[in-house]
């Protein structure tokens, strides 16, 4: 028996502790890049040319709206009737409109009108949409029934038609705020619906249950946990509706129930130029291009943000 060679025992039957310290097993890998919905979205967006193009246009529009004089030294209200519908000259790149005003300068100075209407409408629809959508979705029950039915009623009136009625009643007070109010008051239900649907999805998540178990009050859960996690689709709707609001203002001005003729706006300029389509198409085409490019930028931005935030949309590209 003693002659038998000893059976070889494996050198490491149990992995020795010094090779994989326990601390290392539990430690967070610090070198790994952080990741959450917003960081992922940003990584996705910055690779897309559409994002940079629309961001550049939006930035340009904002700068033009804030500092119009940087872009055109010609006074848009200095109109000489002998230049009526005149062709472009060296200093007047896009020619003259019917009143003999510089078309380019009027486009530059009309930017702030369109943009401010868009921004006020979007603030209004977002605030109303979040109030209605968040309470309806989070609290549910009879509150949801009342708020959702109210939304249905506002949703059932196409908002441009509603704005036409409001603007007809307030014909004596036509300014940027009234027109933004007239559009926004009927445009919020789409925001509310999107947010409500998202909150219904989020409110049963584990982290909400955890907060509830910890004794966090309902309202605090809504404010701190549910709302921040369901705001992504609202951002998409908001970006796109900024473009839609600019179109709505231009449409109302075009119909003659928008801003008064004395206010410089793209919609007014297009409206005034429509009778000269045959003889001086440039007076109609250039403000239309400015309007469309601005709207396109906001809609493109909304699309890019949607693709970045929604993995399903990303897969469809």
């Amino acid at each position: 028996m003693s002659n038998n060679p000893p059976t070889p025992t494996p050198k490491h039957f149990v992995a020795p502790l010094e090779e994989t310290p326990l601390v290392a097993i539990d430690a967070v890998n610090v070198g790994e890049r952080k990741s959450n919905l917003w960081i992922d979205a940003w990584r996705d967006m910055r690779r897309r040319p559409m994002f940079w193009i629309s961001a550049a246009i939006i930035l340009l529009v904002v700068v033009v709206a804030l500092f119009p004089n940087l872009f055109s030294q010609i006074d848009p209200r200095e109109c000489v009737l002998s230049n009526s519908n005149g062709a472009p000259t060296g200093a007047h790149l896009l020619g003259f409109n019917k009143q003999g005003c510089d078309v380019f300068s009027r486009i530059i100075h009309g930017t702030s009108t369109s943009l401010s209407v868009g921004i006020i409408v979007v603030i209004l629809t977002t605030v109303l949409g979040i109030l209605f959508g968040a309470f309806a979705g989070f609290y549910g029950g009879w509150l949801d029934s009342i708020l959702s039915r109210a939304g249905d009623i506002f949703f059932s009136i196409p908002y441009i038609l509603a704005a036409v009625v409001i603007m007809s009643v307030f014909s004596a007070y036509r300014n940027v705020f009234v027109i933004a109010l007239a559009i926004g008051i009927f445009a919020w239900p789409s925001t509310a619906r999107v947010l409500r649907a998202e909150i219904l999805r989020v409110k049963n998540a584990d982290f909400v249950m955890a907060s509830r178990a910890l004794g966090v009050s309902n309202f605090k859960i809504l404010l701190r946990h549910v709302l921040p996690n369901s705001i992504a689709p609202v951002i998409v709707v908001t970006t796109i509706s900024l473009g839609a609001a600019i179109v709505a203002e231009a449409t109302l001005s075009f119909l003659g129930v928008g801003l008064p003729n004395t206010t410089m706006s793209w919609g007014n300029d297009i409206s005034a130029a429509q009778t000269d389509l045959r003889t001086a198409p440039q007076t109609l085409i250039y403000p239309s291009i400015a309007l469309s490019v601005t709207v396109l930028a906001f809609i493109m931005m909304g699309e890019v943000v949607r693709d970045a935030l929604d993995p399903k949309a990303r897969a469809q590209r």
Binding site: V164, V169, F254, L277, S288, S292, L296, Q316
Partner: protein, 309 residues
């Protein structure tokens, strides 16, 4: 099915009352004389004012006014226009033209939109798809009146293919250009919806089974993929009827199509407030009825919708 119809009709009732109340409230609950406000800077004829005061029951308290007005609407009485013609008579004259234009536009946007969306979806990421996406984005951003003027300028004035304004009887050949303009607003959305729906359907199991059974693409694409991709597209077309109504107002105004839209357009341009209110109410009611009918049709087509409470 009867239960579903009843439930759906019951749901439509508060919306009907709510929308008409809202419009009425916006117009007549404002401080000051609502009629004078509606005429803006014009001073209307005292006889006209008197007739309107009677029509809207302005001597009564607000809530009584509203119910008298609602009763009138339910009996089909929408009041009279600025020129004294009953709104229902104007509707009888102009509505068929608008229906013709809207049906032509719906046909164009559906056939073209679904076809382009289908090809786009089947060739995801290819050149055709990329250009269809870019063009549809541009179309979405163009306001309808810009599209109308550009079409009028290019096809009416430069090329001379179409008349810039529609002649009296609104014959079909005159309506082709306005119909294309009207179709263009929702066409882009239909392309995008069809595309994403096709992409989604393509990856479903039953499509793979169909390929596995050895069916040809010529059978799978129309029968398996297209038919199942159309549900969200049809839903969209119904909810977007409101956009079509606003679009019709502008398009009919610009091309001078003698429809409901042009009547509203001209009333807006001339600042005839009371007529505007009547016609907006009519349009909202049309919108509500169309949505109700489409919902009922869904219940008929898709049993799943009938049973959802």
């Amino acid at each position: 099915m009867a239960g579903y119809i009843f439930r759906r009709l019951l749901q439509a009732l508060p919306v009907l009352v709510g929308t008409t109340f809202l419009i009425y409230f916006m117009v007549f609950a404002m401080p000051g004389d609502p009629l004078l406000a509606l005429f803006g800077d014009k001073t209307p004829n005292p006889a006209v004012l008197e007739r309107l005061r009677e029509q809207y029951h302005l001597d009564q308290p607000f809530i009584v006014q509203y119910f008298l007005y609602l009763g009138g609407i339910l009996r089909g009485d929408f009041g009279t226009s600025f020129s004294g013609e009953p709104v229902t008579d104007i509707l009888a004259r102009t509505f068929p033209v608008t229906i013709r234009l809207a049906l032509m536009a719906l046909f164009i946007e559906f056939v073209l939109g679904v076809l382009i969306g289908l090809i786009s979806g089947l060739r995801k990421g290819k050149l055709f798809d990329a250009s269809a996406l870019v063009i549809s984005l541009i179309l979405i951003s163009l306001p309808i009146f810009v599209i109308a003027f550009v079409a009028q300028f290019i096809f009416g004035i430069q090329l001379g293919w179409a008349r810039t304004t529609v002649s009296a009887g609104a014959p079909i050949q005159d309506l082709i250009l306005p119909a294309f303009v009207l179709a263009s607003i929702t066409f882009a959305q239909i392309v995008r919806l069809t595309r994403s729906s096709v992409i989604e359907t393509q990856s479903l199991d039953f499509v793979r089974t169909a390929y596995g059974k050895g069916l040809s693409r010529r059978r799978i694409i129309p029968v398996h993929i297209l038919r199942n991709s159309l549900i969200p597209v049809v839903t969209y077309a119904a909810t977007d009827f409101g956009v079509l109504l606003v679009g019709a107002t502008v398009t009919e105004g610009i091309f001078n199509v003698p429809g409901v839209g042009r009547t509203l357009y001209q009333a807006i341009i001339r600042g005839e407030g009371p007529t505007v209110v009547s016609f907006v109410t009519v349009m909202v009611l049309i919108y509500l009825v169309v949505n109700l009918v489409v919902d009922l049709l869904y219940g008929l087509l898709d049993p799943r919708i009938r049973y959802v409470k």
